[in-house]
Amino acid sequence: MLIEILQQTINGLAIGGVYVLIALGLTTVFGILGIAHFAHGSISMFGGYLTYFLMTGYGLPLIAAIPIALAAGVLLGALVEMLAYRPVRHANHINAFIVALGLTMMVEGINLQFFGHEQIVIPTTLSRVFDIKGVTVPELRLYVILSAILLVAAMMIFVEKTKTGQAIRAVAENRDAAILMGVNVTTIPLIVFGISTALGVAAGIMVGALFAIAPGIGEGLVVKGFAVLILGGLGSFPGAILGGTVLGITESIAAGFISSAYKDVIAFAVMIIVLLVRPQGLLGRAP
């Protein structure tokens, strides 16, 4: 029984890591700009597709394709902010909402047009399996978990320890006060979208290597990302980390010990129960 619980926890950690990265990207944008960036899932799939394309089209190894895809993610995020969201920044919230929906459809269409309808799996050479006293850990999953931890740590250090990070937090706390303190509020959204999209791209690469990328996968992922956001607490970085991990492990444990047919239902039921007890989410601030 203990081995089964540990195995299910390891299983859940890998997908939980992906949820954390998606949710961190979403929470960064939502916390600072108040935008529900629905296209985030489709854009992260674009990152996965791009990595696959760099590997199969240009023969690049995975280790070289990843930084290029991440850099492309930063650029793409900045472009999305400039071209899609900036024009409606001062308009009613519904405008940004409509832009987000339109952007989702557009990116899905672009993915379909350029990369086709077939599912693709990012090839890796990580095929070893480690057996630790009956608990098996595939090498690829181990790298995914470690990469997620590294990216989350880097993100936390950036936000907490750097001047730009402090400026981002300042804008999130109080935009007007940040302006008075000399923070450039035109550049901050560009940086936020760049970082958020790069995190999404990383998640897309992980999904592509662990599972597969196909049309529609990004939409499912963004729904889970928002669930994590709500579970952890809107706009809270630690909340996104905790929420993603909890959701991943809950799904795995629910499928293993209750029923695989209802694993999503059970995961969302847990979310609802948490919200009934803590409406602000696990680590969100009470209004």
């Binding site: 299983n11 859940g12 529609g216 010990f257």
Partner: protein, 403 residues
């Protein structure tokens, strides 16, 4: 006025002179409703390709001959995304807007059942391919036939095969929310029980699931002596890959009908080694007839990819339709064509190895039967190992008793 009269006379003369020739160039629009995108596309797209390929072959050989006329086939294909609503819309569009009388394709059961529910009221003939839900041919729809046998027809044979291998505790993981997959498993279970065996777990995955480790971890803890995987190729491939990653070292059986190419997009050949696929004897080169080998070569040349094993169900639809139209002597009277389909011997051009019932390709239910086979993954390829025991006549009688 004089010029007009001369022009009219010339046109009339040309039309009289070229009369029989023009009649020979008639067009017959044939519709395809199938999953061209989305999860079902692994079956639907190769089916649509197969219909187009068959149409090109028939056209090149002079078309469908009805009396003095020869009809060239014009294929109109719509994407139903394996979705019931999309399928209904696609078929409505084919019938109402494009004036199509013959609709082919239909890879997936949910979307096919939706269309089957109203097709009896239409002056059209529906030819179903890979969709294996049993109820599609238990409704006695006179203008519907299906080339693929129902899932439980194959499941019964598969259960006997697994029981003969001596397995007593079989764990199942599959798309069990899909009717025909659960029918397959029910039939397997019945045969296992006869031999004193049992199914110890029925774990579920959905079409979009790619992480099966929770289900497989649960199964591993039950220590089964065999694993049975039933479902669409893509999730099934992940089950095979992840079962190896979790160290589940028992014989693995499946009901998936995926090609080598489709599996190798997800797994490695080593991870697939030894896996059995217990399914209708569909297209694999080692089990293929002359027609099958030619089909494989032509498909690979035209579409730059190997055909999926189930794609000839759709290819065969068009040859069956051609033979039925020619036998009925009409393209307009769909009732006569539907009747002709039910009394049709197996056309010589088909790829699958059909087991005719009373000498006919389709039985009274509109159902065709192929033999069932045990295929095993050996060094990167599906190898046909043996026929599975199947009795088409007995099953046909059983099917006729269902409503």
């Amino acid at each position: 006025m004089i010029i007009r009269t001369i022009a009219g006379a010339v046109a009339l003369a040309i039309s009289i002179a070229a009369g029989p020739g023009l009649a020979a160039e008639k067009k017959l629009a044939v519709g395809v409703a199938d999953a061209l995108t989305g999860g079902g596309a692994v079956y639907g797209l190769p089916q649509a390709n197969a219909v187009k390929m068959a149409a090109d072959e028939i056209n090149a050989a002079g078309g469908i001959k009805v009396g003095a006329d020869a009809y060239k086939i014009d294929v109109i294909a719509y994407d139903d995304k394996a979705n019931p609503t999309e399928a209904t819309n696609a078929v409505r569009k084919l019938i109402d807007r494009d004036g199509v009388k013959y609709v082919l394709g239909f890879c997936c059961s949910g979307s096919t059942s939706a269309v089957a529910s109203f097709i009896a009221k239409e002056k059209a003939v529906m030819l179903v391919g890979n969709a294996a839900e049993r109820s599609i041919t238990t409704q006695k729809i006179p203008n519907l036939v299906r080339t693929r046998p129902p899932a439980d027809y194959t499941g019964q044979a598969a259960g006997t095969f697994i029981a003969r291998k001596g397995h007593k505790r079989v764990a199942v993981v599959g798309a069990l929310e899909v009717g025909f997959y659960s029918q397959y498993v029910d039939a397997v279970e019945k045969e296992l029980k006869k031999a004193g065996g049992e199914i110890v777990a029925r774990e579920v995955f959905s079409l979009r699931d790619r992480d099966m480790t929770p289900q497989l971890t649960k199964i591993r803890a039950l220590s089964p002596d065999a694993l049975l995987v039933v479902g669409y190729v893509e999730p099934a491939a992940f089950v095979y890959r992840q079962s190896v990653e979790l160290g589940i070292n028992v014989p693995r059986y499946g009901f998936t009908s995926g090609s080598e190419e489709q599996f190798l997009r997800v797994t490695t050949s080593e991870q697939m080694e030894g896996v059995w696929d217990l399914r209708p004897t569909e297209l694999t080169l080692l089990s293929a007839s002359k027609n099958g080998i030619a089909y494989h070569e032509n498909y690979a040349r035209i579409f730059k990819a190997s055909p999926s094993p189930s794609s000839p169900y759709a290819y065969d639809q068009l040859y069956a339709l051609k033979a039925a139209i020619e036998a009925a002597g009409t393209v307009d009277n769909t009732e006569a064509v539907a009747k002709a389909l039910r009394s049709l011997p197996v056309p010589p051009q088909v790829v699958m190895q059909y087991q005719p019932v009373d000498g006919k390709m389709f039985d009274e239910n509109g159902q065709a039967y192929t033999s069932n086979g045990a295929f095993q993954w050996q060094k990167g390829k599906w190898v046909f190992v043996e026929d599975l025991p199947s009795d088409a006549k007995a099953y046909s009688l059983f099917l006729g008793t269902l409503k």
